[in-house]
């Protein structure tokens, strides 16, 4: 019998992998991918709660808004990464240190 705990544990695994990527990758596009993993983990949680705990559709509505915000975030994020690449010829985040005092 699959209960809500199963979905929550899988979502925790997705979230932790996303955090691992966020902390360890140097490439900016890879960091954006990790953020998508984290958002997907949150969405699985929301939909699971909508099915099991709340019993209404509020979680799914919130999940739809998360997808919208993820699309906007990736568009702006990639625009920033492309501009950074044009400026510094590198996609690596730790080399973008022009603002360092």
């Amino acid at each position: 019998m699959i209960g809500i705990e199963h979905y929550l544990v899988v979502s925790a695994a997705l979230f932790s992998l996303g955090v691992l990527g966020l902390l360890t990758r140097r490439n900016a596009v890879n960091v954006l991918m990790s953020i998508e993993l984290i958002l997907n983990a949150a969405n699985v949680n929301l939909v699971a709660f909508s099915r099991y705990a709340a019993g209404n559709l509020d979680g799914q509505i919130f999940g739809a808004f998360v997808i919208v915000v993820a699309a906007a975030e990736v568009a702006v994020g990639l625009a920033i990464v492309l501009t950074l690449y044009r400026l510094r010829r590198t996609p690596n985040l730790d080399e973008a240190d022009i603002l360092k005092g």
């Binding site: 544990v9 991918m33 990790s34 099915r51 559709l57 568009a75």
Partner: protein
């Protein structure tokens, strides 16, 4: 093992396994294509959870839109003849410790809490979601549309090449 449990475990293995490839692969293009399978697995979870509208939206927006955008990002930030699309990792050990600790804490909380476990009977959700968007959630719905417009205009402004300004 029931059919639902079998399908759940298949999706769980596909999702978490390909997410691990996304994070740990040394080659950027492998990460991008592994992300495709992660998105498919999450869409499968939505179907299992009775969220048919969100599953379709996940496939259309994530697989059809966000993944293509990310592939553009991979291609545009690396020279195309530069086959060595390798990326390095930094601070791997502290990151592993933090991520493993997060996973243990989160999953322990999820397992030890006694949740209400009466699943909503599966029903088609699209009509109800549409009705909620245009009644209860009208203001967030409009705000989201404005947010998308602003994000698109902003992205176009940021990547625009200035001509000798």
């Amino acid at each position: 093992m029931s059919g639902e449990a079998f399908v759940f475990w298949v999706f769980a293995i596909v999702t978490v396994g390909s997410a691990a490839v996304v994070v740990l692969s040394r080659t950027l293009i492998y990460s991008a294509f592994a992300l495709l399978f992660t998105f498919f697995g999450v869409a499968g979870f939505y179907v299992l959870l009775g969220a048919d509208f969100l599953a379709a939206a996940q496939l259309l927006i994530y697989v059809g839109g966000i993944l293509v955008l990310l592939l553009f990002g991979v291609m545009l930030t690396h020279k195309i003849y530069d086959l060595d699309l390798r990326t390095e990792t930094t601070q791997l050990a502290p990151g592993l410790i933090v991520a493993a600790g997060l996973f243990v804490i989160l999953s322990a909380t999820a397992v030890r809490t006694s949740w209400m476990s009466t699943p909503r009977p599966p029903a088609a959700t699209t009509a109800e979601i549409g009705r909620l968007f245009l009644s209860t959630y009208l203001l967030p719905f409009e705000a989201a549309s404005v947010l998308l417009l602003v994000a698109l205009v902003g992205a176009a402004m940021i990547v625009r090449r200035r001509r000798d300004a």
